[in-house]
């Protein structure tokens, strides 16, 4: 009961945290028909700096970390990615008016990870002083790539089955074998993961403390606030597209983040008991799962599953999934960690 009250307060207070406030502010301005817009190039710059910051810090701290501890959470990250995509495919496919490829692409996007939501969660933990492992940002690719690859593979299998069912001979130019390695490599080369990996490497191998302290760390909060405005605007604009597709996407997009977070929280708790994974780490694992990819996921899925309708999968993720994850997921799982551990 106390917990409920304190979560209620936290949730209301949450609207006052700048991160959420800026997100809602962006949505509000877009809803009012404002022509406010941040140039695309600035958006890319901001994302690059945020990911470098996360990577650098991770890399610098990994130097002194015991990497054996990383193994179990990394394995769980892969497992969670699989569960989300497979579970989402099954659940969504059963709903009326949803094509199998759209179900798979949507589940894939919710299985993948949002760098910006993750950054917001890290800032939140820093602000309330809850500690977490240095290497937790390195879990990102494990869940992200697993989800995207699995989604693309599942979609190809479905398409091949359909083609066979229709007794259509697949045209010559269609690659008949599914090259998983190619998809993995392609994911790693995306701009978001590349920036994170570059940051990790530089943090690990060079001594970037001066530049981290004089630039990447101080601008983090400000850049994140601008990113939230951009995401808010985008969320509202995609909503109109989402309205054109089946309503069940919206239902999924409300439930999925919290369910995925809860599943990951469970796995995190196991790792906590087995290997001493920190409460803050558990929260971040939950947010990795709860978030849905906004930068590299959409184009990867677009290229990998061209027959899927982007209005469906991007709309449900950007317009509903991400705001829910930031507004409810972050405070919820943080509070849960305080209570449980």
């Amino acid at each position: 009961m106390d917990t409920l009250v304190s979560f209620g307060q936290l949730f209301l207070g949450g609207f006052q945290t700048p991160t959420l406030g800026f997100l809602l502010g962006g949505m509000f301005m877009a809803a009012m028909g404002s022509r406010l817009s941040i140039p695309d190039q600035v958006y890319k710059f901001i994302v690059f700096v945020l990911l470098m910051k996360i990577g650098l810090r991770g890399g610098m701290e990994i130097r002194n970390a015991n990497l054996a501890e990383l193994l179990l959470p990394a394995f769980f990250a892969v497992l969670i990615g699989i569960i989300i995509v497979y579970g989402g495919k099954v659940a969504l496919s059963k709903l009326p008016g949803i094509r199998p490829v759209d179900a798979i692409a949507t589940a894939g996007l919710f299985g993948a990870v949002s760098a910006s939501t993750f950054a917001a969660a890290m800032l939140h933990l820093d602000d309330i002083g809850m500690e977490y492992e240095a290497w937790v940002s390195a879990l990102y690719p494990f869940m992200d790539i697993t989800a995207l690859v699995l989604a693309i593979v599942l979609a190809r299998l479905v398409t091949q089955k359909e083609d066979k069912a229709n007794d259509k001979e697949a045209p010559k130019h269609k690659r008949k074998d599914i090259n998983i390695q190619a998809i993995v490599v392609d994911s790693l080369r995306g701009s978001a993961l590349s920036a994170l990996i570059l940051g990790l490497l530089l943090g690990l191998l060079t001594k970037p403390e001066p530049v981290y302290e004089s630039f990447y760390n101080p601008v983090f909060r400000g850049f994140l606030s601008i990113l939230m405005v951009i995401m808010g605007i985008e969320a509202w604009q995609r909503l109109s597209e989402l309205r054109r597709v089946a309503h069940w996407y919206a239902v999924y997009a409300v439930i999925a983040p919290l369910m995925h977070g809860a599943i990951a929280f469970g796995f995190g708790a196991i790792a906590h008991h087995l290997t001493g994974f920190s409460p803050g780490g558990v929260v971040l694992l939950a947010i990795l799962a709860a978030s849905s990819s906004d930068i590299s996921g959409p184009p990867t899925l677009r290229a990998g599953i061209p027959t899927a309708n982007p209005s469906a999968f991007i709309g449900s993720s950007t317009s509903i999934g991400t705001p829910i994850c930031i507004a409810i997921g972050i405070p919820l799982f943080t509070e849960l960690a305080k209570v449980v551990f």
């Binding site: 817009s37 941040i38 140039p39 695309d40 600035v42 958006y43 890319k44 045209p171 130019h173 951009i230 995401m231 605007i233 985008e234 604009q237 597209e241 906004d294 930068i295 959409p298 184009p299 677009r302 290229a303 061209p306 027959t307 982007p310 209005s311 991007i314 950007t318």
Partner: protein, 104 residues
């Protein structure tokens, strides 16, 4: 000095650009030019201006001038079959006149 040639204009999303360039190369196009834009078609609106979380969905126009009508038709046909069956995009052809035919 002036020669007849065919201009192929291909509009599609940036994410599919690579596939298309591959086809062009295979069919022996000697050059191309790419422009970014925004667009609206049967699929969703592609805003040209504001920060888009999904830059790769931006519209690109690829312009290729080829000397032989046959090559132009062959490229167009392959693109319609291999790319624009499932993906959004349109291909148009028009007549132009160029100089230095050996370049095309």
């Amino acid at each position: 000095m002036k020669h007849k040639a065919t201009l192929l204009s291909i509009m599609t999303e940036k994410v599919f650009e690579e596939n298309i360039l591959e086809v062009l190369e295979q069919e022996g196009a000697k050059g191309y030019t790419i422009f970014e834009g925004g667009g609206n078609g049967s699929f969703h609106l592609h805003p040209a201006q504001h920060a888009s979380m999904v830059d790769e969905f931006r519209i690109v126009k690829i312009e290729v001038i080829v000397l032989s009508t046959d090559t132009a038709n062959k490229i167009a046909k392959r693109l319609m079959e291999e790319c624009f069956n499932e993906q959004p995009g349109i291909v148009s052809l028009s007549d132009v006149q160029i100089f230095r035919a050996q370049k095309f």
